[in-house]
Amino acid sequence: MNGKMHQRNFVYKLLWHLVHTVFTIFKCIHDIYLQLECKLIEWRLGNRCEAQILDNLQKATAKLKKMPKHLTILLGTEEPSHNDLAKLVLWSLTAGISFISFYDVQGKLKMNEEELKESVKRILPKTANVIWHNPECSYKNGFSGPKIHVQVLTQKDGHKALVETCKNLSKSNLEISIQAVDEDLRKQYKFPDPDLGIYFGDYFNLCGYPPWQIRLTEFLNIPSHHNLKDYKLINVLRRYNKCEQRVGK
């Protein structure tokens, strides 16, 4: 009887590997198809200089009815590429997004934040103002011209921030309501709640992103932020426009 069971278990295991192999093959074919699609789009667009890209982006986003006020990027397990992230800041500024934050769960981006600042400074136009939010510098006011607020979040801004809020609220005599928690967290998070979140890779995992703020955030996928292309961002923004928020109704 045992021998028969072993045989049966072996068959099940074999089938399991088979199913997953078939899925992997399909995924590969799908990925190749997506890459070909990208190559086709790029061939059609031809070689464009920076100015043309920005121009195209502005035109495309002007047609869209709603633009996220705060875009948050979940880097996940990808190795941060400063050039691409800087490009993302530039394009967000062009599209009219006021706040952009990067969630860096591995801590690599935070460690090299200065390098990122340099990359951003290099490619952004002189008229633009980038306001970095980190514990050292305080919020600056009184800028004219296009501006964008940037922030790098790490794990300690996640659940630990809620713990801090808890301790703060216990010391004050305020009644503990949703508004009270929200206000206290706002002091730590600083930015408004994200409207749009972009995650990279095959699967979606929050990795401990600050839980309170993401209750109504739309999460959309871009396969990778390496070699990021503007039309990918435009696609995501277009898809964001189609999302209908009913908030319970």
Binding site: S170, F204, P211, R215, F219, K249
Partner: protein, 480 residues
């Protein structure tokens, strides 16, 4: 003839058919027994006997397929016009078969005009009915001494009497009342959540294959798309919600046989109160109906070891409904095999606020110190404090947001968004999600962040005890 054993080839064919829609209520008019007998040059008794055997086979097959109600036309009032001998031989045959039924079938009801049935037969039928009353797996209804006109006349008579004695008003009289006053008025019953039948051979096979990979321990589901499904089917929204509930049954029945131990489902959000008062009323009534059914069949939950929990803001739930929910929780409190949690009148922000509020009270009364306050304490003071972290979160209908659901608990979960609506979330789509989960889970586990160790166990225990005290108190306050 055994009512349980089905040959393998038949099982295979039935498993294939099961993938599609199966009728909930099937009605049969058995006809042609005498013609069959004549073909073999035999008397009608031969034909009727074979007819009964064929009936048992059909019962067996339909039961396996998942048909729950089977109504069979055995003897019409018109059949009394046949020769006395034939009628008598039919009655003898039926008597013999009823004795067999008495040993085997789950539920049998007779419907028909009592006054026309010979007394002995009638008493046997009544006995059979009483013995099988509590069965709920499969309903076998036998029409004996029945015609539909007789039944309609009976129904109209009942209603007319009700109008005369002023128990009813003219406004109450509509199609559904006419239906409800027939012999088997309670027939169109809504399906119960738990089915005691095993998953099919094919489903078990798929599960055995999938069990070779990781299976989520805690599965959370945001049901979405009921109303869209209803509009697509050109029906009213209630139809969509009921279809959604049936889908919960199926998916839960399936996951019970995998290694999934916790299943948390988002039924009603605090934001949903913003809908039109009519719709909210319909939803509350549907919830009351379903939870009352749970309560009536609570033994089934206990037999399967299922612990049912409801969580959400208690002050927003209507009192009667809340008492029913608490009663269900109290009755299944000690079960530990599977945990089924329903989020009702819930939003995650409300839960987090409640958690912070509890901790602040604890800090003020100096039961805990500031150094005790950490992430795990925050987690433990939520409505369902002792719940493990979610491994897989599913959301149907193509919406890509979290809508305030379990925001604390999904920090390390894999989140999958499906494009189909919830009532269309079939068994195969569920398999697809599990395969996706298995493909990426090893990567997820690598990037998971770790929680600090637990301190102040007493405080956590006290919070838990307080919650149960409230539940116990509310469960006793059932208002009739």
């Amino acid at each position: 003839m055994d009512l349980k054993i089905i040959p393998l080839m038949q099982k295979l064919c039935l498993d294939v058919i099961k993938i599609g829609r199966i009728p909930n209520h099937m009605a049969l008019i058995l006809d042609g027994n005498r013609r069959f007998a004549a073909r073999f040059n035999e008397g009608s008794l031969f034909g009727n006997t074979i007819g009964f055997d064929r009936l048992f086979e059909v019962i067996k097959i339909t039961r396996y397929l998942g048909v729950r109600y089977c109504t069979i036309y055995i003897f019409s009032i018109e059949n009394f016009k046949r020769s006395k001998d034939e009628v008598q031989s039919l009655f003898d045959l039926i008597e013999e078969k009823i004795i067999y039924f008495l040993e085997n079938i789950n539920k049998l009801k007779k419907m028909g005009n009592h006054s026309l049935v010979p007394k002995k037969l009638y008493s046997m039928m009544s006995k059979l009915y009483l013995e099988t009353r509590m069965g709920t797996d499969y309903y076998l209804n036998i029409a004996f001494a029945y015609t539909s006109r007789d039944e309609i006349a009976y129904s109209i008579n009942t209603i007319a009497n009700g109008l005369k004695t002023k128990d009813l008003t003219e406004l109450d009289v509509d199609e559904s009342l006419l239906n409800a006053c027939t012999y088997l008025g309670d027939l169109p019953k809504v399906d119960l959540l738990i089915r005691t039948s095993e998953p099919s051979w094919l489903q078990k096979f798929y599960m055995n294959v999938l069990n070779n990979g990781r299976i989520p321990n805690h599965l959370a589901i945001i049901l979405d798309g009921n109303r869209r499904y209803a509009t697509r089917m050109n029906k009213e929204t209630q139809f969509g919600h009921r279809a959604g509930f049936d889908r919960i049954t199926e998916i839960f029945n399936f996951t019970r046989y995998t290694a999934v131990r916790y299943c948390t489902i988002y039924i009603f959000s605090i934001e949903n109160f913003k809908r039109s008062p009519d719709e909210v009323k319909i939803l509350m009534e549907l919830a009351e109906e379903k939870f009352d059914e749970f309560l009536m069949n609570i033994d089934e939950f206990r037999n399967l070891g299922i612990c049912v929990k409801f969580f959400g803001n208690p002050s927003m739930v209507p009192k009667n409904l809340y008492s029913t929910m608490c009663k269900i929780q109290m009755e299944t409190k000690m079960e530990t095999k599977y945990f089924l949690n329903f989020a009702f009148a819930y939003t995650s922000r409300d839960e987090i606020t409640h958690s912070i509020s509890t901790i602040c009270k604890g800090l003020k009364s100096e039961v805990i110190t500031e150094s005790d306050v950490d992430e795990s304490l925050l987690n433990d003071c939520t409505y369902l404090g002792d719940l493990p972290k979610v491994d897989l979160l599913l959301r149907t209908s193509g919406v890509v947001r979290l809508s305030d659901f379990l925001l604390l608990q999904i920090a390390d979960a894999q989140i999958i968004f499906m494009d189909c609506t919830w009532p269309e979330f079939s068994f195969l789509k569920c398999l697809y999600c599990l395969i996706q989960y298995q493909r990426c889970q090893h990567l997820v586990e690598k990037s998971n962040h770790h929680q600090s160790t637990k301190a102040s166990m007493e405080f956590r225990k006290k919070c838990n005890d307080d919650i149960w005290k409230n539940i116990k108190h509310s469960s006793k306050a059932i208002i009739d």
